[in-house]
Every structure is written in structure tokens, then in C-alpha cells.
């Protein structure tokens, strides 16, 4: 299975996610965007600190599964590109963000098809296998916001 792992552009590392997913290297092809994290995942197919937007889209489209921090940009992208995704929330207590707002987003997205959320102690291999055929769907509220901005620009 090809798995794209991404921790985003936030200026704090996310070693927790990379440490937890390192066990997947023996059975899966891992492409990793590691941002400001210092962890080097041995056995990864490819690991870079950053990818361009086009490269990010390519990596998401080509992946069977995405494992990601719960940022708003990537949360939208995986739904638009219909790639099943397992999210990890950054934690203030672990020094991964300045607050716990990713937990808020988790609550808001938890019922969405094709989106999964890691809890401490979960078996990642088992989750990847159980994600099955549920495909995320593109968000439906964006056109409403675009129209509102157009109206605002002409008001």
C-alpha cells in the first residue's frame, strides 16, 4: 500500500506522528513530508521536509491512504481528492501546537465518510486495513462562501 504521511507547515515538529507511523515501513511504501520535525524515518520510500502544492496534490492523489496532522488545508485537500485519511491531532501538552484546536476540528469532522482519527494506543496497521472502500467526498459549503465573497465585493 502506498501511504503519504504529512505533518504540514506548522513551525513546531510532530515527532509523535512520525514515531507512531514508522512501524509501517516494513509493509508499506511511505512518502513522508516531515516539515519542522527532526525524526528521520528509516526505510521510508521518500522523505522530504517540504513539497510544493502541486507535489502535495500529486502525493495525495497517488496514495492509497494519507496519514496527516489535522490541519484545515490538508483536511480539505484529501476530501477534494477523495483519498481515505487517518488524522492525528497536534497536542499543546506534547509541544506540537500552541493550543488544542485540532481537537475541535476532529469533533466537527468525525462523522465524515472516509476520514479516520487516531487515538493513543490504536493499532495503525489495523486502522489502515479497516479503512476499506469509504472515500471522502468534496466539501459542499465552499461555493456558498465564494458566492458570499462575490456579493461582498459588489455591495
Amino acid at each position: 500500500m502506498r501511504v503519504f504521511i504529512t505533518v504540514g507547515t506548522h513551525n513546531q515538529g510532530f515527532e509523535y506522528l512520525l514515531d507512531k507511523t514508522a512501524v509501517l515501513t516494513s509493509r508499506h511504501q511511505l512518502v513522508i513530508q516531515s516539515g519542522h520535525s527532526s525524526t528521520l524515518v528509516k526505510g521510508a520510500f521518500q522523505q522530504q521536509s517540504w513539497y510544493s502544492p502541486d507535489e502535495m496534490s500529486h502525493n495525495i492523489s497517488e496514495a492509497d491512504r494519507v496519514i496527516s496532522h489535522l490541519g484545515c488545508g490538508i483536511a480539505r485537500e484529501v476530501q477534494v481528492l477523495n483519498t481515505p485519511t487517518l488524522f492525528f491531532c497536534r497536542s499543546r501538552q506534547r509541544g506540537e501546537h500552541f493550543d488544542n484546536h485540532q481537537l475541535e476540528l476532529k469533533e466537527a469532522l468525525t462523522s465524515r465518510q472516509g476520514l479516520w482519527f487516531y487515538e493513543d494506543g490504536d493499532d495503525i496497521e489495523n486502522i489502515l486495513n479497516n479503512m476499506g472502500s469509504e472515500i471522502p467526498q468534496s466539501p459542499t459549503n465552499t461555493d456558498q462562501l465564494i458566492k458570499a465573497i462575490k456579493d461582498w465585493l459588489t455591495s
Binding site: C72, G73, F98, E104, A108, N141, T142, L145
Partner: protein, 145 residues
């Protein structure tokens, strides 16, 4: 042609603005953001501010120059702290200002949102119930998620 300055930190904030690009098709648009591999197309590259007060102060000079030279009719931002100096000068130069709270904020207010809520002309959130985190001026008109 309407002149629009779009302002966002790199990462998800910038991705949100990109997702809304149909809203300003046909307009004269400039982008201001932090330098990063995912913000190569930006017109004004602004040094990362973060929580550093000195960098915030410096960024006020940077955005004075941007607003003074471009003279946008509208300034739109999806956050975060980079919006503070941009919106400050935008209002003083009579641009219309719209701040859209980041979709990552579901039931809480960002620091930039709190600081800019009263300052900007129009303030929107991306989740219906997050209007409660601000006040009557906050409105919901859809979101990127």
C-alpha cells in the same frame, strides 16, 4: 478593475484562500504571505511573524509599504497573525476589509480573530455555531471544509 490584496499565513490559511479563488476572478489580485515551498506564487513575501513582538512591529512597516504602493480597494484574509498589520493599514487607507476566521476554529476564537474582530469591516466564521465565540458582527456564509 477592483484591486484586491489577499493575505494569509503559509500552510492551511493560504490553502483556504486558494480554495476561494473563483470569488475574485477578473479582479486585479495580489497575494501576501510568508515564504515557503507552498507559497511560491505570492507577490509580497513577508518574513514570518509568529508570536514575536519585534517581528510584528517590523511587519507593520512592511505592510505600510504594500498598502501604500498597491492601494487595494479590498483586503481579504483567512488569518492568521499576518492579517493584523495588513488590516491595520488597510482600514487607515480606506480599503474595505474582510476577515474570515480559519476553518480550523470550530468553537473557539483565534488570537488574530479576537484582535481584528472589532477593527475590520466584515467578519465571518466558517462554522455556524462559532459566531458565539465573537459577537453579533460575526456571520456565517459557508466554509472551505
Amino acid at each position: 478593475m477592483k484591486k484586491i490584496l489577499l493575505v494569509a499565513s503559509h500552510g492551511g490559511h493560504l490553502s483556504e484562500l486558494r480554495a476561494l479563488k473563483k470569488a475574485w476572478e477578473g479582479c486585479d489580485v495580489r497575494w501576501a504571505s510568508y515564504p515557503s515551498p507552498n507559497s511560491k506564487e505570492i507577490d509580497y513575501s513577508v518574513k514570518h511573524i509568529g508570536m514575536n513582538p519585534f517581528k510584528m512591529l517590523t511587519s507593520f512597516f512592511v505592510f505600510f509599504k504594500i498598502i501604500y504602493t498597491f492601494r487595494p480597494d479590498y483586503v481579504i484574509s483567512t488569518g492568521s497573525e499576518i492579517a493584523i498589520p495588513a488590516m491595520f493599514w488597510a482600514k487607515l487607507f480606506s480599503s474595505k476589509t474582510l476577515y474570515i476566521e480559519c476553518s480550523a476554529r470550530v468553537s473557539s476564537a483565534s488570537l488574530a480573530g479576537k484582535l481584528l474582530y472589532r477593527w475590520v469591516d466584515t467578519f465571518w466564521v466558517q462554522w455556524p455555531h462559532n459566531t458565539k465565540s465573537f459577537g453579533d458582527k460575526a456571520e456565517y456564509h459557508g466554509g472551505t471544509l
